[in-house]
């Protein structure tokens, strides 16, 4: 198969607009920004087409784990979680290390990364820093999804799947004229029981709609509009207590839930002039979500967290390229800008057990017993936090590709400015008494208001060289830089308020402890961007039905965003630029698809260590980074057996990741674990009926570990799943 990738936004909206595409028999359409074909990009690339997505049961981003070498997206928490690890980078909080683009539209909020992939035709991933063209939050790579387009000419498809835990997934795709419509609904009762409530704690109901309209009736102009709406309501946070080497069932008494409404409206315009091609990509992104969490994850009434946000964002990108692709110098110049406003309401409510154990025990341990003891009579003590967070970014970028025949040299530079401002309006209210002197409770309000802001200017360069040694073999090397945006620690404000409240109580009664309740101030809650320099060597081989790719990289990560213990008696942790690390790794993909047989191997090795990291208590320099698997592996094989005019497709896979440390000390480790998957499909006429299994080995691994209030918790892998389904081409 001759495969050429058109790497322009134009290609997504209309191959007809690209002169080169008109002469090519088979076109792989992606939504990348690069000026050259996918096979000419000097980066590690994973390109997964619809049949592979289907045969591997990939309908959510975390299903790409290990299939893309080095990519690890553990499945835990709720769909807002989307923790992504790649090449030793990643964190479970704040900004992601991987950028997500859907039909060329950048998705700004990590909370909407996890959605159902009905109508996704292709998933293309560039690994390694892609900051020059893609800017912020692409230091680990970017994932570009191409959705069903009216120009695909595909027939309407209805799909239905049912499996254990009453899991239902139903979808439909239609093309009507210039419109492509896709909808999907997913329900599951959940896989983990909250023994305290004697009910599943992770049910899910979600509905997604996408409408794509394209018009390229004018010879030189293509326009498209993409509207996607996702609404979901779910439980989650299936975390079990780990004690005495035993993992106990999930058991928490307060609400754990997540509700989300996401609306993304994108508009794209491509104009082919005589000398210049112009692309305009603009979007409006709305997110309204509400997360409620039992922060102690136990059956005691300690404390709860809510994060309810309403955010709106607008993005705009202008790109200019030469119209003629058959030239040596292919420059690309662009301007990108976005503005985002997020209104976040994030109260922490301390309940009776929490007031006793977290607040009063801490407070009274500071107060000499002969002076007195503090009591709080409230059943619940809310620490309310309202944030108004504005983020804006403007970038100017240029990349020049010199196509010298067997050599392709690429040099690029991005000047990227990002600013942010956070207004905070917090208040704690309590009724306290200082015994034995006080005989009555006294109400006290402790307000905390202010604003913090930051501004950062980045230069993101890239230099790469690609050499086509033969028609089949390509070698490349790249030096590139990426960055992950800075931000504000909103979660630490409840700790700040706790300490401020205790000091305010003491001041209110005129008692001044020699050792005051110390806390960070809001001014210290801002953290800076994280940077990664990447040096990479790679090769690609394509011979007939066999293709392979391998890359070796060294990454130097500075200003690393890590969680540390803030000073004082805080129970929380906060993100700060505390460390530096380096990652060394190898990534390999092999693919052989002769006739009716298909096979795929992905493997990665990564050694990611702290060069320096002091968390306020301990020095972890030299230790392995937590959560980063040393290996990822995916083995897949399939065969299509023709039976008269029908086909029997049999696909099997093994997927694994590990070993990795659960914390910076390495005291808790997860071994390398494999999970087996299988899909058997019978295709007759326009019907396909299949049986699909995930985690057929029943592997009882863990996907997440954390500590809360001195307790350790694990999230477990989902159990063995068997699903039957059908796809009908109408």
């Amino acid at each position: 198969m001759t495969t050429l990738v058109l790497i322009s936004v134009l290609a997504t909206v209309s191959p007809l607009c690209d002169t080169l595409s008109q002469y090519l028999p088979d076109i792989t359409v992606t939504a990348l920004k690069e000026s050259v074909a996918l096979e000419s990009i000097a980066s590690a690339v994973s390109d997964i087409s619809y049949p592979t997505l289907k045969s591997n049961g990939i309908y959510r981003p975390n299903s790409l784990s290990s299939i893309v070498p080095g990519l690890h997206i553990p499945d835990y928490g709720a769909s807002m979680t989307s923790t992504i690890y790649l090449r030793g980078m990643g964190s479970r909080m704040e900004n992601p290390v991987m950028g997500l683009y859907i039909d060329g539209i950048p998705i700004l909020d990590k909370n909407v990364y996890d959605f159902d992939w009905e109508g996704i035709n292709r998933a293309t991933m560039l690994r390694g820093p892609q900051g020059t063209l893609y800017g912020r939050n692409s230091m680990g790579g970017i994932l570009s999804l191409s959705t069903l387009s009216p120009t695909d000419g595909a027939r309407p498809v209805i799909s239905l799947e049912y499996g254990n835990a009453n899991t239902v997934r139903a979808g439909a795709s239609f093309i009507i004229g210039n419109n492509a419509l896709t909808t999907t609904y997913r329900h599951t009762d959940g896989f983990f029981i909250n023994t305290y409530k004697n009910a599943q704690c992770d049910p899910y109901d979600g509905l997604a709609l996408r409408w794509k309209w394209q018009n390229h009736s004018h010879e030189n102009t293509c326009i498209s509009n993409i509207l996607s709406v996702n609404v979901s309501e779910e439980g989650g946070f299936a975390y079990g207590l780990w004690q005495n080497d035993t993992l106990y069932p999930v058991s928490y008494n307060d609400e754990g839930s997540y509700r989300r409404l996401s609306v993304i409206e994108g508009f794209k315009l491509h104009y082919c002039g005589q000398t210049i091609k112009t692309d305009i990509v603009t979007s409006l992104q709305l997110l309204s979500d509400d997360m409620r969490m039992d922060q102690d994850y136990t059956d005691r009434s300690v404390f709860t967290l809510q994060q309810k946000q309403l955010s709106g964002a607008g993005t705009l990108e202008l790109t200019f390229r030469r119209a003629d692709d058959n030239v040596i110098w292919k420059p690309q110049t662009g301007l990108f800008s976005f503005y985002k406003r997020n209104s976040l309401y994030a109260p922490v409510v301390f309940k009776r057990d929490g007031i006793e154990t977290l607040i009063l025990n801490n407070a009274n341990s500071h107060i000499p017993a002969e002076i007195g003891q503090l009591t709080i009579s409230d059943v619940t003590m809310p620490v309310n936090s309202d944030f108004l967070i504005d983020t804006w970014n403007t970038a100017l970028f240029h990349e020049s590709v010199f196509d010298l025949g067997r050599w392709i040299i690429t040099a690029g530079l991005r000047l990227d400015y990002e600013g942010g401002n956070m207004d905070y309006d917090c208040m704690a209210r309590l009724h306290y008494r200082f015994e034995p002197v006080m005989t009555q409770d006294k109400e006290l309000d402790v307000p905390y208001l202010g604003a913090v802001s930051h501004h950062h200017l980045e230069l993101i360069p890239k230099l790469s060289a690609l050499f086509k040694a033969t028609d089949a073999v390509t070698l490349y090397t790249t030096v590139s830089k990426g960055y992950r945006s800075g931000g504000f620690n909103t979660q630490i404000f409840s700790d700040i308020l706790q300490n401020l409240t205790m000091n305010a109580v003491m001041q209110d009664i005129g008692v001044y402890l020699d050792k005051q309740f110390v806390s960070v101030s809001a001014d210290n809650t801002e953290y800076d961007p994280e940077y990664a320099w990447n040096l990479e060597l790679g090769t690609r081989l394509r011979k007939g039905t066999f293709s392979a790719g391998a890359s070796a990289y060294y990454m130097d990560v500075r200003n690393q965003q890590l969680t540390v213990f803030p000073p004082g008696m805080s129970t929380g942790r906060m993100m700060t630029n505390a460390g530096r690390s380096r990652s060394i790794g190898l990534e390999t993909e092999l693919c052989w698809n002769p006739e009716q047989f298909r096979s795929h191997i992905s493997w990665s090795w990564c050694d990611a260590r702290f060069v320096s990291y002091y968390d306020g208590n301990l020095d972890y320099s030299g230790n392995l980074l937590p959560y980063v698997p040393k290996h990822t592996l995916n083995l897949g094989a399939g065969y299509s057996l023709r039976i008269n005019n029908n086909t029997l497709d049999i696909d099997a896979s093994l997927n694994g990741a590990g070993p990795f440390n659960w914390d910076e000390t390495g005291s808790r480790q997860e071994p390398f674990r494999l999970k087996a998957g299988c899909r058997i499909a019978f295709v007759f006429g326009d019907w396909e009926i299949y049986v699909r299994g995930d985690n057929l080995t029943g592997t009882q691994g863990r996907t997440f570990y954390f500590k809360s209030v001195g307790n350790e918790f694990f999230a477990s892998c989902k159990p063995r799943m068997i699903m039957i389904g059908t796809n009908i081409n109408l």
Partner: protein, 145 residues
Amino acid sequence: MLAIAAVLAGCDKLEKENEEPVSVLKSTDYSGTLTVNASSGAFDTDSIKVSFNATERADSASIILYKVKFSPRMPVSLDVTIPGIVVKKTEKGAILSCDSIVPLAMGGEYPNYTVKGFQGEIMDDLLTFSLNFGSTPTSYQGKAQ
């Protein structure tokens, strides 16, 4: 009625004539040295702020001592309010006195440190007093800020 009004007007005039013109009898902050003769020995603490708050009639006052320790090993400092101090005005200030007053501290009355033998005076811009906090002899000398 006219007679009553005349008497009241006379009283009012009398009160106005007796009003102390010295501003130091109104709320004034002082800064000075607190000396505590604790059982372990006497110790001084400098820069102790004391607020003198006279009543409207300036015949009584309260004194607030800020961030005081009654022992060098005391792990906290306290704000202590001594209410009900009797004020007798003099030409240059006032004589202060009271006996057996329960001070206010830590949000309420604190009988363990009942004030006894309070004696003091305001002379020009100086405030001095001595007292026993419970059984702890204490004295203060400060200057108006």
